[in-house]
Symmetry: C2
Subunit: 342 residues, 2 copies
DNA sequence: TTGTAGGCGTTATCAC
DNA sequence: GTGATAACGCCTACAA
């Protein structure tokens, strides 16, 4: 692991100046003979360009960062899977940050943009605070935010629409003849919890069903919590005929409990999850789920950023990704369809 | 987004030399008055160190790369989830590469180490070719390989033991009284495919069961391929009573086909998957799976690399992570256990 | 066509 | 203590 050769090493070996070496390496017009000598020397020495030195000079790192709250969350991983190839195709490396849902860490990432180790940033913050907005305004490199930002914030922005998502699910259940549709939600003090809870109420009213708080149970966004919540709900409303779950894990918990209680899914109780993670297709019965377009949002964010990197001056853009109801066996289909295989 | 301030800007503003600025910024002994002036200037200007210039000078980037075959594969994501926090805690950024299982891309990543944009690399190659070994030997930065490398290769190495893993599964099935245990494998020219195939044969012999190639079907490591393979196997050997699947996706495919064929799992056919991904706990019935310790391997690799970055001269080390059989409903339990909820 | 020289932003080694 | 000044490796006027 000796020190690598530099253009100086090559220049000496080839008997030319470092300027000529640089020219050859960059394909600028050079005499054939010189090209030959330089290439030969470079080959023999196993020369590789030093990316750091190039970056210092060119002020571009060909790196882009993606900062997310929690690397264990499948929704972020879905984004990541789409972001990666888009960046790779454009010649950018991906630097990953998991902020563990700590707002201070998110601010740190924003701050570290000033270090110029990346050309841009895609960030999906859990909440957008005043501090976020201040840092964003002062950011030294282009940023794309996945998630909602206040009206008027001058930043490229990609959003989901969980309100419409819940609406799709409720409409679907209503169309199937379900009239006692319960909701199992996560904590109301989280952004998704609050949004989905409100959307449920709205959607019920839209189809003309009464909102009844006895039909709502709050737990947390995990399977075990989902079990508990659904068990409680089932005790309270034994003849419930559909469950709108605030994410797929809760919905899996619902399947567990319903099965144990001898309820058939979907005949007795239809179940809808949210996020359309891989787990939805893996479960049995496979889970109808509202896709909030994690993959699409990731892709859109990557494309927005690349575009911005090419044209730094254009107006900030807003992309809203439409939710999509992915119908599987837990609400409708035959119980023999296994779902997609990713 | 104007050009950021540099130490020169600060030096002018504070009326000192750039050397003093650098000293203050790095906490070297300096007169109080100077410290004060420099800090004030830095604050007012919103100065942030340029990481690229630092790297050029210090020859360290504080970045580490993780290269995996397929960012969509949950086993790699499990590694990633462990690698990230370990590196973060040590002050390193994580650069992600997905090579799409293209050997040339892996070689590229190895080659690009020469560009010095990272201090080290963790790589999990699908196959280790001669070219890989040559590049490894010539690598300009420390590398840790996750996966088997030929005896004597001088590189830090973390391995799973899929042979013992398969053995655990077969022993388990045998202990349950299964005697017609089939195998559904992926391509034999992949490292895992070859290893798992050979291990199956060995394990059968170890418990005294005959190896019968009619009981083996080769597909690929995906659910749909798993379905096809299992369907073929079932046609050929209708009274098969257990299936050893080379990964969880194949096993999910097996569950689909068995269900459609009216076979009960586990009563008629027991099913074992491999990798113990989140999908195993989500499926119904939940899937017994051999954990090859993806998470542990990721963590071990990150720690090996950090250690090597501190002490570049020590002997290469080999860490072998032991497999673990995670028993769930598809081989043994009641059909009411839902599994862990992560 | 080629070489000399300056600069990208830091750090570190000198004298002072 | 502090300030010139020389690297780090590369690119690029500008001059020859």
């Amino acid at each position: 692991m000796a020190d690598g050769p530099t253009i100086t090493t090559i220049a000496e070996r080839a008997g030319v100046s470092i300027a000529s070496v640089s020219r050859v390496l960059n394909g600028l017009p050079t005499r054939q003979e010189t090209v030959r000598k330089v290439m030969a020397a470079a080959d023999e020495l196993g020369y590789v360009r030093n990316a750091v030195a190039r970056s210092l000079k060119s002020r571009r790192t060909h790196q882009v960062a993606f900062a997310m709250a929690d690397i264990g969350n499948p929704a972020y991983l879905a984004m990541l899977r789409e972001i990666q190839p888009v960046l790779k195709a454009a010649g950018y490396r991906l630097v990953l940050h998991s902020t563990d849902a700590v707002a201070a860490d998110e601010i740190d990432v924003l701050h570290s943009l000033g270090e110029r180790y990346v050309d841009g940033l895609i960030m999906s913050p859990l909440r957008v605070t005043e501090a976020h907005l201040r840092m964003l305004a002062a950011a030294r490199a282009p940023v794309v935010i996945i998630g909602s930002v206040p009206e008027g914030t001058r930043v490229d922005n990609v959003r989901a629409d969980s309100r419409t998502g819940v609406r799709l699910a409720i409409d679907h259940l209503y169309a199937l003849g379900r009239r006692r549709i319960g909701m199992v939600n996560g904590p109301l003090d989280t952004v998704p919890g609050a949004a989905r809870g409100a959307a449920y109420r709205e959607a019920l009213e839209a189809v003309g069903l009464p909102y009844d708080e006895r039909m709502v149970e709050i737990g947390d966004f995990y399977r075990e919590e989902g079990r508990r919540a659904v068990a409680a709900l089932l005790r309270r409303v034994p003849d419930i005929d559909a469950l709108m779950c605030a994410n797929d894990l809760i919905a899996l918990g619902a399947l567990d409990v319903l099965r144990a209680a001898g309820k058939r899914v979907p005949q007795d109780v239809a179940v809808v999850g949210m996020d359309d993670t891989d787990l939805a297709a893996a479960s049995w019965p496979s889970l109808t789920s509202v896709s909030l377009g994690s993959a699409e949002r990731g892709k859109a964010a990557a494309e927005l950023l690349l575009d911005r990197l090419r044209n730094g001056d254009r107006e900030p853009r807003l992309v809203t990704v439409l939710p999509r109801l992915v119908v599987r066996a837990s609400t409708a289909g035959e119980a023999s369809e296994g779902g997609r295989s990713s």
